[in-house]
Symmetry: C2
Subunit: 220 residues, 2 copies
């Protein structure tokens, strides 16, 4: 049962452009975040924005982000700079009868907030487990868990999902009435993210088969 509260819009998390595409169901936020492999983290460094792809994982209403302890963006975010974290899925190219009405079908989640450096040993382990399982479901239990040195080399941030917005576009083009009779094809060319055939590490000892967590993996 989804008993989560709806997305509560603040000024900056209120969708202004194309508000018909805005979604306020928290379950939709979860769905967009859970379906992504990478997000884009924005931080202000020296007055200018820096946007970098960043791995993440969700645990309830907490988003865990991680990277090297040496990354300037993560250091800034960990020092209390405001961040924006955006996950976008392109679902289709929308072909219209006019250049103007060409568009894209997509799902996009935008999270605003201030990240918190995760310092407690238990939550650090939880966060890394969540991140690993998001990237590679089943890998946490199947592989060697991080030792003390590896833990120390990983910057782990937590971002609350309180202030977030979701925008989704689906369906055929919105066209001008005047163009509808034009003999020009219009519609949607679907765009999908798919998984290919697993490529074993050349260093793998003989006889280690591709496990079902890899072979049977499906993207959400």
């Amino acid at each position: 049962m989804d008993t989560a509260p709806p997305l509560s819009p603040t000024d900056r998390s209120t969708v202004r452009r194309g508000s018909a595409r805005s979604r306020t169901d928290r379950a939709e936020l979860y769905a967009v975040l859970d379906a992504g492999l990478v997000g884009h983290l924005g931080v202000v460094l020296g007055g200018a924005p820096v946007v970098l792809p960043t791995g993440y994982g969700r645990h309830g209403d907490t988003l865990y982000l991680h990277g090297s302890t040496g990354a300037a963006t993560l250091r800034a975010a960990g020092a209390g700079a405001p961040v924006c974290f955006t996950v976008t899925h392109v679902d289709g190219v929308v072909y219209a009868r006019s250049a103007f009405h060409h568009s894209m079908n997509y799902r996009c989640a935008v999270v605003h907030g201030t990240a918190r450096v995760v310092t407690g040993a238990d939550e650090r382990l939880l966060g890394l487990q969540v991140l690993t399982e998001h990237l590679a479901p089943g890998s946490w239990a199947a592989t060697r868990q991080p030792d003390r040195k590896e833990l120390a080399a990983t910057a782990l941030l937590a971002l609350d999902l309180t202030e977030a917005s979701v925008k989704v576009r689906t369906g055929p083009p919105g066209e001008d009435e005047r163009d509808l009779a034009a003999p020009v094809w219009a519609g949607v060319l679907p765009v999908r993210t798919v998984l290919g055939e697993p490529e074993p590490d050349p260093l793998l000892p003989e006889g280690v088969a591709v496990p079902d967590r890899v072979r049977g993996r499906r993207l959400r």
Copy 2:
């Protein structure tokens, strides 16, 4: 012939983390940008970063971005606020024998700069053509071009590709020597973006076939 100058690193466009993954060939920048459908535009609004998916197209060393004239991020960028524009392709999930060495194969281009509002009628038309052709190759010539009202409703920005960086990860996991003998599968699960079967607009008059620009489209 690629006679473009190499990427000239400034302080913020110098790849610091994982510099072995950095590329300095301008042709690689073009390739990563040209292969994307959407980028993430970062702008500072009220001291905080805002990162939104944004359509784009490249013409030589100019990136054209567009959106509604009402979008706050585009207004800020057009008013001279520094921007960061990032295009990322996820190419694979890298499974390792340890949780720590799990990774992602990807190509990522990051462009820093200050955008310029395109005002000249000729360049505005060029920019919209570049954007349309990037999103939907062949559509500019095949569809109705923008009229005066549509042109006025579109904010068009130009971003110079002078200050940019490219980072690419390929190949199997980097592992600790100590883990190599573990009977744990390691390797790469490829991730690909593919196009599906065209879905005609229900309002299409009978007999308008799917054109080759749609049916025969290949992603770069």
